[in-house]
């Protein structure tokens, strides 16, 4: 991480991206997507979290979150979704981080406050399991990010890492289960769950 980046947004983005990496891993662990042996216990922000031991898995999560950094900093990232699909690649559950970074915030970032607020997410995540639904067999997962606007300079190497998603959409508005919200200037993060509406047609006419 670029330590020299000392703008409040940069600082915030750094913390947030790091947090997202941990949180996404926690979510994947929480869902039991991989055997629990694939994770090891670690302490992050003084909370026991899990870290992927498999280099590919941790690499994926790291690259995704690290790839978000410049966009988070610019306030372009609206949501980061961790989506779990069934075997037909229809989303069955989405963990959504809704992120708002106040671009006009200029004072110094209280990193402690920020971490304190973010830590609550991790704690809450560890006990969020009952809120989630069991995964069907043959499921997969991925991380998608919703941008507020397309990255301006698409020549940018970082921007090119992101490809448009072809994630199927639900036809009905989903059910939302809020998990945690925080607000610590300049950052506002909300985590909630989305499940398909019970009236959602099972097979999207595929």
């Amino acid at each position: 991480m670029d330590r020299k980046n000392t703008s409040p947004q940069g600082e915030t983005a750094r913390v947030l991206v790091e947090f997202l990496e941990v949180a996404i891993t926690s979510i994947v662990f929480l869902k039991g997507f991989y055997p629990s042996e694939a994770f090891e216990r670690r302490r992050y922000m003084n909370v026991v979290v899990h870290r992927a031991r498999h280099p590919q898995l941790s690499g994926y999560i790291h690259s995704v979150t690290a790839g978000l950094l410049p966009f988070v900093q610019k306030g372009l990232v609206e949501r980061v979704n961790v989506i779990f699909y069934d075997n037909e690649h229809v989303p069955v559950e989405k963990f959504i981080f809704k992120i708002i970074v106040n671009q006009s915030y200029n004072s110094k970032v209280e990193e402690n406050d920020l971490e304190f607020a973010l830590r609550a997410f991790l704690i809450k995540l560890t006990i969020a399991e009952p809120l989630t639904k069991p995964l069907p067999s043959g499921s997969s997962w991925e991380v998608t990010a919703y941008f507020r606007a397309l990255p301006q300079d698409s020549s940018n190497k970082e921007a090119r890492m992101w490809v448009p998603t072809d994630t199927k959409q639900w036809l009905q508005p989903p059910d939302i289960t809020p998990i945690k919200s925080m607000s610590s200037e300049p950052l506002k993060v909300q985590l909630y769950l989305e499940h398909p509406n019970p009236s959602e047609p099972k097979n999207l006419g595929v």
Partner: protein, 1168 residues
């Protein structure tokens, strides 16, 4: 791995379909589905006589017994008709109950007659509970082979026994009459009869004086002089102790289970003391008493029974024993181990008296040649027992807790006759039996040991002032400087010991401890030997190294591998070589010992280094609970021992023996087998003997081992770094938290503060408030830090928290309990709030609920006096505290979050709460008003619909909507006041509804004296629409708080108070959490107030949604969850919920493109 590992970015947020009013969301929830289980009335069992065979038999037996009883009274004894020869009012067979099996001579009827005449009983049907003897002439082979199954452990006796008893006119042992077949029973016979000989004395003597009274026997497992081996005295032959087996089996079962509750095994057996007819109790006369076996006899009538009886009584009254206790009760090693304490107590005056004379004698050492006497009782554990059995003196006898000839109990001591057979201490009984088949095995008699040991030491102390107790039967005397010849002293002592205790002792006299010790060994048994200094070398030359103290198997094997067998050989080895091979200390020791050098002196008082308890036998756990239970008991034991010694320890070591991988079944029954030991210790800052602390630490250490509890074979807990409890008590004042705290507290509440802190601390550690016990607190190393922290908080703002003016009531309550509790205002609320909620509740209980008041008040962080909280009903405050706690944002522990989510729990409490009146049930007298309120709610819904339907409209429109729903009431008083443009755009049905409802509203308006509504502040009125939509939440405190405060509704006042007290950044959900106690007041309020409250709450929450929807859905969600929860008890909140939920859902779908899983709650029909 994820195949789609490329991250994807959507160019835009997906277009969410816009949503119409969530009319489809009104999924009706049918709460409390009418699943009335038609309770089938239990078919009443008519108690027909003899409903089944069992009751028939019970009845029949009862009748037979009654008949028998009637016969008995008429026949002989009861009528006092004779049997003067028996000298026994109750007959010789009193307590005997026979069952006759098969053909007998004399016939069963004759036997019955005998029983009838002589106080016995005759059972027609066998039951192992009522029958004591089975009488039969012969048995079929199958029964013979499986005698136990047949007899149920009862003696199977030939009928001749009855006749012989009659002839002898006393109850003879049935042993010789037992139905034979197994030969080895005979040797057993003798053993067991002698076995309980000593026990018989008291009771038999007693029998002579007060003949034939009932003897109550408490079969109390703690009393059993039987180690937990559990296989005590299993008789395999048809010996006379078959009945014992029954008891033994029970006991065995008991011990087999570690957590057995021995209370259940308390048996009461009644039997008659045989008419001893003045004969010295012979083994035979005792045999029926041996039935009680190893159990102590407690005779309540016998005042002549000496200390044995007395101490038994103490034991028998003890209840709730457990394995650990039993184990140590019956452990010889434990007896020896703890003996020293008793010794020290007993001879404390002599021991301390010695101190002064120490210097003198030390001077003497220089002049005189040192002479040490080592006195050792000869096979102490055996000889103490057999002194009462003179006939056993020349027979091989061993002491062991179990007499099972095939058992793996270890013999603890054997007499010299037995030793000649090769029976040694530590031999398994079965091996001992193999090499000495007629070995007599006796159980321990700890009381006797205690007594003899005391006599022994009394004698030693009489003759010598410098006595070093090695064990209960072994001591060093330093007779240096005594005028008499050491040898003479020794023989005097020995003689006196023999006279007093009827046991012999041997003595060794030499120049130092080592040689005296060795001399005793060669002097044994019953002798003494003096090794003069010039003969030391000769003596040692051929002495096997194994004989030296301090040389065990390991060292011996090492020495053997170096061809060193005797001290003479070792003498040749240079010191350096020994040190190299065996380490400096042992090498030194060996070098010295083989030269007869021993620099130790006789030390009278030996410092105790550790206190502990260890159990390596019978440890089998099924699960962690078992194990914890055991640990708890072990800690109790250790704690008791510490307290017994007046010591406290700082280092706690837990040792766990776990089965080695692949270790075979232990050789010894329930033994530990091949084990590996792990141990770990924890040092606590302040010495403790507190059992709770020990338990906590023990469990902690145990958990850190991560061993499978099933593999655990032994557990030991030891305390080291001992301090005298007096010292540690004193030391505590200097360094303990309490004193530290007290120094920082200035006012008069000092003491009470300390106590509270102590209480808090105790609570943290789970201590049951050991109020005045300073040492108990300091265990909590970790807790201490926390407390330190919280306390420092507390110190920093004590001034602020002292609000004496605020709480007259608090102070009053304080005065009532002034001695124990600090004043409420002295409590640091920040600390209190951080405490776990159950503790807060407990404290709240102590303060009679005022604490929770204070907590809420403190959240205000101001000094306003409040009136509202006084209305809060007490029991509700519990939930209040919980809620408040959850709400206050301390989400450090997941548990709390769960609590917040756990909607199921709290409402239960609330509904159970008698003070929370369900407003739905309280009928409003004004039915019309009720109806109108309902209508009102509906209209509110409509208004929300309106808002939603206009979500896509221009800003201007939105402003319109808010102005309709905001400043005035939810519905305009008449259609004329409604915004025409809005109405225009409404769907037809909605429009119709509104029109339909309006007249009702007008009526409400009429009956309202004070029209209620918010006045939009001018500053806000013309600012941006967004602010207008949430103007109630502007400012600090928000605008609505002031509005609520001046409102007519008591409920709203209270909410405003809640907010004011809670501090400025409090979330609405937190306030909602704490309104539970206020709910009852809502129902009592008038209809206007009700309306006002409904409108205002709707308004505030609607604006809250607008305010928070973008940033904190969680908070909104929580609010709605609370509303939903309260909706069961408050119709007001139900309506508020129902009226605001559509807005919430609509906002959710607008911003988040989804809906929450909340639905409109249908009001209970028929309630209004």
């Amino acid at each position: 791995m994820n195949s789609r590992s490329s991250s994807r970015a959507a160019s835009n947020g997906p277009a969410f379909p816009s949503f119409s009013a969530p009319s489809g969301d009104s999924r009706k929830r049918s709460r409390n589905p009418p699943t009335t289980n038609p309770q089938r009335p239990l078919r009443s069992k008519t108690k027909a006589p003899f409903a089944d065979f069992r009751s028939y038999m019970v009845e029949k037996n009862r009748k037979l017994r009654a008949q028998f009883q009637a016969d008995a009274t008429t026949s002989s004894l009861g009528a006092g008709s004779g049997h003067a020869d028996s000298g026994d009012e109750k007959g010789i067979f009193h307590g005997v109950s026979i069952f006759v099996d098969g053909l007998t001579i004399p016939s069963s009827q004759e036997l019955r007659g005998y029983m009838l005449k002589h106080g016995g009983r005759f059972e027609n049907y066998f039951s192992k509970h009522t029958v004591t003897h089975i009488i039969c002439g012969n048995l079929p082979d199958s029964k013979m082979r499986n005698l136990r199954a047949f007899s149920h452990g009862l003696p199977v006796v030939r009928p001749q026994w009855v006749l012989d008893c009659l002839a002898a006119n006393r109850l003879l042992s049935c042993a010789p009459y037992q139905l034979g077949g197994l030969v080895n029973g005979t040797c057993k016979q003798q053993k067991l009869s002698t076995y309980f000989h000593h026990q018989g004395i008291s009771s038999c003597n007693d029998a002579r004086t007060t003949v034939n009274h009932d003897v109550k026997i408490d079969v109390d497992p703690k009393q059993l002089v039987l180690p937990p081996e559990g296989q005590c005295f299993r008789c395999d032959g048809p010996s006379g102790q078959a009945s014992e087996e029954l008891e033994c089996m029970k006991v065995e079962k008991l011990y087999g289970e570690i957590n057995a509750n021995p209370e259940s095994t308390d048996l009461e057996v009644k039997f008659s003391v045989p008419p001893a007819s003045g004969v010295i109790p012979t083994p035979l006369s005792m045999i029926n008493k041996s039935y009680m076996g190893h159990q102590k006899i407690h005779e309540s009538l016998d005042s002549s029974v000496n200390c044995i009886g007395a101490s038994n009584q103490v034991h028998s009254t003890l209840t709730d024993p457990n394995f650990v206790e039993n184990y140590f009760k019956s452990s010889r090693l434990h007896f020896i181990g703890t003996w020293r304490n008793r010794y020290r107590k007993r001879f404390s005056n002599l021991l301390t008296g010695y101190k002064s004379s120490n210097e003198k004698t030390n001077c003497c050492v220089a002049k005189h040649k040192a002479s040490i006497i080592h006195v050792d009782m000869d096979c102490f554990f055996v000889s103490v027992i057999i002194r009462n059995f003179p006939d056993l003196v020349d027979k091989p006898v061993a002491v062991c807790h179990s007499n099972n000839p095939r058992g793996t109990a270890e013999i603890s001591s054997a007499n010299y006759v037995a030793r000649n057979y090769g029976v040694k201490a530590g031999t398994f009984v079965r091996d001992a039996k193999a090499c000495c088949p007629h070995l007599v095995i006796l159980p321990y008699d700890f009381e006797a040991y205690e007594e003899v040991a005391e006599q022994f030491y009394s004698i030693l102390h009489k003759h010598c002032s410098k006595v070093q107790a090695l064990s209960c039967d072994e001591a060093f005397l330093d007779v240096t400087g005594c005028d008499d010849d050491p040898e003479e002293i020794a023989s005097m002592i020995r003689k006196e010991i023999e006279d007093t205790t009827r046991c012999t002792a041997s003595a060794g006299i030499a120049g130092n401890l080592l040689l005296a010790y060795l001399a005793t060994r060669s002097a044994k048994p019953n002798g003494q030997r003096f090794i003069p200094s010039e003969k030391v070398e000769d003596y040692l030359k051929d002495l096997p190294v194994m004989a030296l103290p301090g040389i065990g198997y390991a060292t011996y094997e090492k020495l053997k591998s170096r061809q060193i067998q005797t001290c003479g050989q070792m003498y040749m080895i240079p010191k350096e070589a020994l040190q190299k091979d065996f380490g400096i200390r042992i090498g030194d020791m060996l070098w010295n010992y083989c030269r007869g050098i021993d620099n130790r002196t006789v030390e009278v008082v030996q410092e105790r280094k550790s206190v502990g308890a260890e159990v390596n036998w019978g440890i089998r756990f099924n699960n962690l609970t078992d194990c914890h239970h055991f640990l708890v008991n072990l800690c109790k034991e250790v704690s008791l021992r510490l307290q017994g010694c007046g010591l406290q320890g700082r280092a706690i070591t837990l040792k766990v023996k776990k089965r080695k991988k692949g270790a075979a079944k232990p050789l010894k029954f329930m033994g530990c087998g091949d084990c590996e030991s792990v141990s770990r210790s924890i040092t606590v800052p302040v010495a403790t003997d507190n059992v709770v602390a020990l338990q906590r630490i023990a469990k902690q250490i145990f958990a850190s081992f991560h061993v499978d509890v099933k593999e655990v074979r032994g557990i030991g807990l030891h305390m080291t770094k001992l301090e005298s409890s007096d010292i540690s008590r004193k030391g505590h004042v200097d360094n303990a938290l309490e004193s530290w705290l007290s120094s920082s507290t200035v006012d008069t509440g000092k003491k009470s503060e300390q106590i509270t802190c102590a209480d808090k601390q105790c609570d943290n550690g789970g201590l049951p408030l050991p109020n005045g016990e300073p040492q108990s607190r300091c265990i909590y190393g970790s807790n201490q830090q926390d407390l330190g922290k919280s306390k420092s908080l507390c110190d920093s703002d004590t001034g602020y928290n002292c609000l004496p003016d605020k709480d007259a009531r608090c102070c009053r309550s304080y005065e009532m309990r002034a001695s124990a509790l600090p004043r409420l205002c002295d409590l640091d609320i920040d600390v209190v709030k951080d405490l776990p909620r159950d503790i807060v509740l407990e404290m709240d209980d102590i303060y009679e609920g005022e604490l929770s008041d204070l907590i809420r008040k403190s959240e205000k962080k101001g000094s306003r006096s409040s009136s509202c909280s006084s209305s809060v009903s007490l029991p509700n405050e519990d939930t209040n505290v919980i809620d408040g706690y959850i709400a206050s944002g301390h989400v450090d522990s997941p548990e709390l979050d769960l609590g917040a989510k756990d909607k199921g729990k709290l409402p239960v409490r609330e509904t159970l709460n008698p003070k929370t009146v369900d407003p739905c049930r309280s009928k409003n007298p004004n039915k019309k008003a009720q109806v109108s309120v309902l209508e009102n709610v509906k209209s509110v819904e409509r208004t929300c619909l309106k808002i939603q339907s206009h979500n896509s409209c221009s800003r201007l429109n939105e402003l319109h909507i808010t102005s309709t729903m905001g400043p005035q009431q939810l519905m305009p008083a008449s259609l004329s006041q409604a915004d025409a443009s809005v109405l225009e755009q409404l769907p037809e049905d909605v429009k119709a509804d509104i029109c339909g409802f309006l007249p009702v509203h007008r009526k409400i308006k009429v009956c309202k004296d004070v029209p209620f509504g918010f006045d939009v502040p001018n500053s806000v009125k013309h600012s941006s629409p967004w602010y207008t939509k949430s103007y109630l939440w502007l400012g600090s405190p928000p605008f609505w708080v002031e509005k609520f405060k001046i409102s007519n509704s008591y409920f709203l006042n209270a909410i405003a108070m809640l907010y004011a007290e809670s501090g400025k950044d409090i979330l609405l959900s937190s306030i909602l959490q704490s309104i539970t106690p206020l709910l009852s007041s809502v129902s009592e309020s008038s209809c206007e107030e009700y309306d006002e409250a409904l409108h205002s709450l709707h308004e505030v929450i609607s604006q809250y949604i607008v305010l928070k929807i973008g940033s904190d859905v969680e908070e909104l969600y929580n609010c709605f969850c609370f509303l939903k929860r309260f909706s069961t008890v408050s119709k007001l909140l139900l309506r508020v919920y129902n009226s605001t939920l559509p807005l919430f859902q609509a906002s959710m779908s607008e911003i988040y493109g989804g809906k929450l899983r909340l639905s409109v709650i249908r009001e209970k029909p028929g309630e209004e």
